[in-house]
């Protein structure tokens, strides 16, 4: 997808956008496969270094990368 607004550098943004878009599509299709009435509202990926949160919508996608407080 195309990044509209970002505060990271361009290449990182493009990478995140592309990868997370695909992942979100996959997650959404998984959720709907299990229960067609269901839909994906939020996706959180927690890794060793930080947490990536994705809020999907019909047309747009909001991605936030946070350092969890530990």
């Amino acid at each position: 997808g195309i990044p509209i607004r970002t505060n990271l550098d361009n290449s990182t943004t493009v990478q995140y956008a592309g990868l997370l878009h695909q992942l979100t599509m996959k997650a959404r299709s998984t959720v709907r496969d299990i229960d067609p009435q269901n839909d994906l509202t939020f996706l959180r990926i927690r890794s060793k270094k930080h947490e990536i949160m994705v809020a999907p919508d019909k047309e747009y996608l909001l991605i936030v990368i946070q350092n969890p407080c530990e």
Partner: protein, 624 residues
């Protein structure tokens, strides 16, 4: 039986129409059942009849298509732009972005998503959802399983091996004792075993001199056969160069062997060099250990002729250094004690210890200036030869000696007696070693074929695990470096490998602290006892010297006063002792031991006063 009904008609009446009429039934023949015929038949009971009621099944094969997985890299290029906008041009992209930002839908969506995201971010900030909640509890899993060990491999010399290769040999090959085991330093998959007959003047004509290197994966045929000129009594892998082994022979020579031959076993079977007979030991070499040196070629050996020789294996024509184990420190060979085991700790390169036939352990310092100073201290405590000597890998000041019927643990500081010892067993103890992973665990083997595993944090009077390995005496024991597998060699040459349960191989919680505390406590107790002994001895000496003087000193105090004083002191001491004992009983176990040690010393100190008081009383009575 035929049923015949004759129907007659005149010829002239042929062809006339028949007229049928009903007639009631008439019995033509009645055949009653004849029971007499039943004897020709046999009643069948039960009658087997099969009935099946199952659902009908059909067979159907399914084969999923094989998924082919391929790794591919993805190159992220900006895509998804509408056709009219060139992603490389910054102006166009900026314009597009601005346009999108003005879109109402966009604004609504972002507001909505933003709110959602904010909620989650705040959640994250508030608590850490994925923290380790039960981290400590995982560690607290106690090993509930009972200690056990299972045999994983039994290696015995196959006599048929000899029949096949050397048919001229006597088929009953004399069984030889597996006297020494050494694990391969890195891989721990190979075991070198030295075989020899330790019986004095045994008939050695039919006995072969070979020693073997076994690969654990193939217990039937040794990987490598070592052929020295005289049977090997001890055998050790070089920890630096795992292809070289050094062996100490029955006739006193030393022989290094390369074992590098996976492809040509004959080349690796012969020793590289043998030490010359003139300069070697006169008796079997019972201990041979590699030294820690830069070249990795130095080793030293000890034997029952009372000498310890240092060698460099590149030049085995004469030893580089010698030491005579004479505890009178005169260096005389006649007084020397025969050495049975040798111990060397790589972290303390100048010190080493020797266990002797006479039951004395000698600690020596290699770098001493004069030969008389080389022997630093002696520890005597065994009634028979010290079969094994090992330092605790975690606490190098503590070492274990195994000899006669007991195993004893010593601290380097207390020279008079061992700090801990096992009870006297029914059979000789033949070998022992510490566990490499747990400081409180050690193993001993007995001459009735039992392997004992001792854990003195768990039980102090008995071994934690006692396994009967075989019927013949076990002669040697060696623990693999990972601490889980132990190999024991028996008198008839069978080497059994046992895997001990994981309770013995994993370090328990707090174990190091507890073991440390225990050792310190016992050392302290011994020191106090030593001090008391010394005091008593001094007093004995002083008393025997000053006995002439005492007769003159007596009339200073009137006898009656002295009696009063001593009686008072006596009762005071008794009361104090009773109070202390009562106090001690209410305290917990740990404290009790410490108190006991202090108590004992205090009580015994006072007790020594008591007999002295009484003696003084008696002497005064005699004088008065």
């Amino acid at each position: 039986m035929e049923i015949i009904y004759v129907y007659t008609r005149k010829r002239s009446e042929f062809g006339r129409p028949c007229s049928f009429s009903d007639r009631p039934a008439k019995v033509s023949v009645d055949i009653p059942p004849d029971p007499g015929m039943a004897s020709g038949f046999v009643l069948r009971n039960p009658v087997d009849s099969s009935v099946q009621h199952t659902s009908d099944m059909s067979e159907h094969e399914v084969n999923t298509e094989r998924v082919e997985v391929e790794s591919r890299g993805v190159n992220h290029v900006e895509g998804g732009w509408p056709k009219d906008i060139n992603p490389q041009e910054v102006e166009q992209t900026i314009r597009f972005r601005k346009k999108v930002e003005k879109d109402e839908n966009y604004i609504n969506t972002i507001a909505h998503l933003g709110a959602l995201m904010e909620h989650c971010v705040k959640q994250n900030n508030a608590i850490n959802v994925y923290e380790e909640y039960f981290g400590e509890e995982e560690v607290a899993e106690v090993e509930d399983e009972p200690p056990s060990a299972k045999t994983i491999n039994v290696i015995s010399k196959l006599t048929s091996f000899f029949d096949v290769l050397l048919p001229k040999r006597d088929p009953n090959v004399t069984k030889r004792t597996a006297t020494h085991l050494s694990w391969h330093p890195n891989t721990c998959k190979k075991l070198a075993v030295a075989y020899s007959s330790l019986e004095f003047q045994q008939n050695m004509k039919e006995m072969s001199f070979d020693s073997y290197i076994w690969d654990l994966e193939n217990p039937n045929k040794p990987e490598l056969v070592l052929k020295p000129s005289s049977p090997l009594v001890s055998l050790e892998y070089n920890p630096k160069d795992s292809h070289v082994l050094v062996g100490g022979c029955y006739n006193g020579q030393m022989a290094p062997f390369p074992s590098q031959a996976y492809w040509d076993t004959r080349k690796g079977g012969l020793p590289v060099e043998m030490s010359t007979v003139e300069f070697s030991h006169r008796d079997p070499v019972y201990g041979a250990i590699w030294l820690q040196s830069k070249t990795g070629t130095e080793c030293f050996s000890a034997s029952t002729d009372g000498q310890v020789l240092w060698w460099d294996i590149r030049k085995l024509s004469e030893p580089t250094d010698t030491l005579v184990l004479d505890i009178t420190r005169k260096g005389l060979l006649e007084n020397a004690l025969g050495a049975v085991t040798l111990e060397f700790e790589p972290t303390m390169p100048t010190k080493f210890m020797v266990g002797t036939e006479q039951g004395i352990v000698i600690a020596c310092n290699r770098k001493a200036k004069t030969p008389s100073e080389k022997i630093t201290s002696t520890y005597s405590g065994h009634h028979g030869p010290v079969c094994a000597l090992a330092r605790n890998p975690f606490y190098p000041k503590i070492f274990l000696t195994v000899g006669d019927w007991t195993a004893r643990i010593w601290s380097e500081e207390t020279k008079e007696s061992s700090i801990m010892w096992t009870k006297y067993h029914l059979s000789y103890l033949t070998d022992g070693c510490w566990s490499t992973v747990r400081p409180a665990v050690f193993f001993t083997t007995r001459s009735d074929g039992t392997l004992d595993v001792w854990d003195f944090l768990f039980k102090q009077n008995d071994p934690s695990l006692s396994l009967k390995v075989c019927d013949e005496p076990l002669s040697s024991l060696r623990l693999q470096d990972n601490g889980c597998v132990v190999g024991c060699g028996s008198k008839l040459g069978t080497v059994t490998l046992l895997e001990i349960s994981s309770g013995f191989c994993t370090l328990q919680r707090n174990e190091k602290n507890l073991v440390n505390a225990m050792f310190e406590r016992e050392t302290k107790r011994e020191k106090i006892l030593e001090a008391r002994h010394r005091e008593m001895r001094l007093k004995e000496r002083a008393r025997s010297e000053g006995q002439e003087m005492e007769v003159e000193e007596m009339p200073v105090e009137s006898p009656h006063d002295v009696l009063e004083r001593t009686r008072r002191e006596f009762f005071e001491v008794i009361e104090a002792e009773l109070q202390r004992r009562a106090r001690a009983e209410t305290q917990p176990l740990h404290g009790k031991l410490k108190d006991h040690a202090g108590e004992e010393a205090a009580a015994q100190g006072e007790e020594t006063q008591l007999p002295k008081d009484r003696e003084e009383e008696e002497e005064e009575k005699d004088a008065a």
